[in-house]
């Protein structure tokens, strides 16, 4: 099997979904001939034409709202944001129309919003955020964040199949760094199922998106000193906590790792639910390893210290194990 990147997996999922289903189309800024700011849609216009790869004016409220109207009429639109930070611009359409319509009326709004998120690319306060936490807890939405090449493909295919609005947070830092075997055409990763990525017995790291790669690298680095179990949430809302509680039955120690600032993100919901549902399983206070509550800084000296790293995670794990 050939190796492909996380970015290529997303492109393949888009291509395969559009080949399989006429009702799938894409809309976003500069996604046509230009291929989007990261080149995710490059080449798709050659195969599918401008009727299915639609360049729009700069209008996040407009084109995300339009996706909901098209979805009402039975289409399966996929909108691309240039950066996840711009999800603030279409927040209303997502949480007001997208989230509440089915519950109020039974009308389905099958649409996917792709949001390239995350730091490590010197994007600064407006191009490196992890805003996924804003949507955690919003009834009616599904929020996914793939951490592997296989899931980049499989979760996107499932998101496109899904009858609810799905927010797809794809990590910019993983786009070209992460490589893996090309997933078989048509592979689906189920939405709403977290997964154990690495088995261990001393401590459970619960994370998603870019945190998974970091946790796995750190687990390998400290292999001799501690046995780390890594759980990838994959779907961060609604949360699938079962595998976490099962794991804590074994390790009794929990560290939640996320790239979103410490008071937002998906991690806090994991912590509160473990406090309520898994208190008796714990031997130490659960830890949260996440950046401080500021916007993402630009200068390398600042951003590198802000984001979780192999060193900082190693220290955090050591503190937890030493408790």
């Amino acid at each position: 099997m050939p190796e492909i990147t996380y970015l290529e997996a997303i492109t393949s999922a888009l291509r395969d979904a559009m080949r399989d289903d006429r009702s799938v189309f894409m809309i976003g800024e500069d996604i046509g001939h230009f291929g989007g700011p990261f080149g995710v849609t490059k080449g798709l216009i050659d195969e599918f034409g401008p009727e299915r790869i639609i360049d729009t004016p700069i209008a996040e409220e407009g084109f995300v709202g339009a996706c909901m109207g098209a979805a009402w009429m039975g289409e399966r639109p996929i909108a691309e944001l240039q950066f996840a930070d711009f999800i603030a611009c279409c927040f209303d359409a997502i949480v007001t129309v997208g989230a509440k319509t089915h519950w109020r009326s039974g009308i389905k709004l099958p649409m996917v919003l792709r949001a390239p998120y995350g730091g490590g690319v010197r994007g600064g306060p407006f191009h490196a955020s992890s805003p996924e936490g804003w949507f955690v807890g919003v009834a009616g939405l599904k929020v996914v964040a793939p951490a592997t090449v296989e899931d980049a493909y499989g979760l996107l295919r499932s998101a496109i199949d899904d009858d609810d609005p799905v927010l797809f947070f794809e990590h910019k830092g993983l786009y070209r760094r992460l490589k893996g075997e090309a997933p078989a055409t048509g592979t689906r990763t189920p939405i709403g199922k977290s997964i154990v990525r690495r088995a261990g017995s001393d401590v459970t790291v619960v994370t998603y998106g870019s945190g998974v790669d970091l946790a796995l690298r750190t687990a390998t680095a400290i292999e001799g000193a501690a046995s780390v179990e890594v759980i990838d949430l994959r779907t961060i809302w609604p949360l699938d906590l079962e595998p976490v509680l099962e794991s804590l039955g074994k390790t009794s120690r929990l560290l939640v790792l996320q790239e979103a600032a410490r008071s937002t993100g998906a991690g806090n919901l994991v912590l509160s639910r473990v406090a309520r549902e898994g208190f008796e399983l714990l031997d130490a206070p659960p830890a949260l390893h996440a950046p401080i509550d500021t916007p993402v800084p630009f200068a390398p000296e600042l951003e590198d210290g802000y984001l979780p790293s192999l060193d900082s995670l190693t220290r955090a794990l050591r503190d937890l194990l030493d408790y």
Binding site: F25, E51, R52, I54, T56, P57, A59, E60, E61, G62, F63, V64, G65, A66, C67, M68, G69, A70, A71, W72, M73, G74, E75, P77, D92, A93, T96, V97, T101, H102, W103, R104, S105, G106, I107, K108, L109, P110, A139, G140, K142, D162, D163, D164, I191, G192, T235, P238, D240
Partner: protein, 336 residues
């Protein structure tokens, strides 16, 4: 002594059939009578939450609904009850929603006119003004993509015209050249704020034409026949591939913003004049008399609408209250 005000009949537009005139009459009457009933129920404490009427704007609602073909789709706001009726939503449905019944269109999850019906291709009202503009553009985009000769229509007020989503939606509609029709109700007020304090240029027609380069026609929104003709023509242009169309329907909100608002800030003399000269229901009734219908015939239509409203309410009152145990049903179309 000032001249007494008299009702100005609707213009006689050639080509609008007697059937259409009567259909419009039924719709404006149903909205007027149902809303009067709703107001009474509200004052009696029988309706939870709030009540918004479209008194003075019924003609626009009726015309917008009736101008569509059965396969078209619509997203009305809360002044447009008659548009729901034109699509086959019943008086019973409206009362069930007002009363928060288990079998209401929203199953008691939302109240008043905050509903739609999937089966009638009526999108449920979204309170966040402006949101329905891009949404209807998207529905129209679906029609264009599939090559279907269908049209998507929505309404909003002069106040909502200031919301950013409206700009994005109109611009997108133009660039994508989709069969969408926007009916903008200039009723003089946004809650308590007059249109003159919402925008420097209060001609929405000028702004739509100049700002977004879209066709827009101004029409007297208290004249059901003229409004019907204007919207119907816009719908047909959109259907024929001429792209998005707008209508500015000028009227007056004849009551406060909602049942809790007496509208004391409105010009009372102007309102009194309007109530007589430009009441959309009476203007159409006066037209029908000029058309040769007898007073008894016109009255029989009033009675029929009144009976339909009474029957709808009686039916709605029999419906059960929603069961709290069902609340989580339908959060997701595809539950995990």
């Amino acid at each position: 002594m000032p001249e007494p005000f008299v009702t100005i009949p609707c213009l006689d537009v050639h080509g609008v059939t007697r059937e259409t005139r009567l259909a419009l009459f039924r719709l404006v009457l149903l909205q007027r009578i149902a809303e009067e009933r709703v107001m009474t129920l509200y004052r009696q404490g029988r309706i939870p939450g709030s009540v918004y009427t479209g008194r003075g704007q019924e003609a626009v609602a009726a015309a917008g609904g009736l101008a569509l073909d059965p396969t078209d789709v619509i997203a009305p706001l809360n002044r447009e009850m008659a548009a729901h009726f034109a699509r086959g939503v019943t008086v019973g449905d409206v009362f069930r929603n007002y009363l928060g019944k288990a079998d209401s269109p929203t199953r008691g999850r939302d109240g008043n006119m905050h509903f739609g019906m999937a089966s009638k291709d009526v999108f449920p009202l979204v309170s966040m003004l402006g949101d329905l503009c891009p949404l209807i553009v998207g529905a129209a985009l679906a029609f264009k993509r599939r090559g279907e000769a269908r049209v998507a229509l929505t309404f909003w007020g002069d106040g909502a015209f200031s919301v950013g989503d409206v700009h994005e939606g109109l611009n997108l509609a133009g660039v994508l050249h989709v069969p969408a029709v926007f009916v903008i109700q200039r009723n003089g007020y946004a809650y308590s704020t007059p249109t003159t304090r919402q925008m420097l240029n209060t001609s929405i027609t000028e702004r739509v034409r100049g700002g977004w380069s879209l066709p827009c026609e101004e029409v007297d929104g208290t004249d059901a026949i003229a409004t019907y003709v204007a919207i119907r023509a816009a719908v047909e242009r959109a259907r024929n591939g001429e792209g998005p169309q707008a209508i500015e329907a000028v009227s007056m909100r004849m009551e406060g913003h909602a049942a809790h608002d007496a509208g004391n800030y409105m010009d009372q003399d102007e309102k009194r004049r309007y109530e007589t000269e430009r009441d959309p229901v009476e203007r159409l009734a006066a037209r029908l008399l000029l058309d040769g219908f007898s007073a008894a015939e016109v009255d029989s239509h009033r009675q029929a609408a009144s009976d339909e409203v009474a029957a709808g309410l009686a039916e709605a009152e029999l419906s059960p209250a929603p069961d709290p145990a069902s609340l989580a049903d339908g959060v997701y179309a595809q539950p995990l």
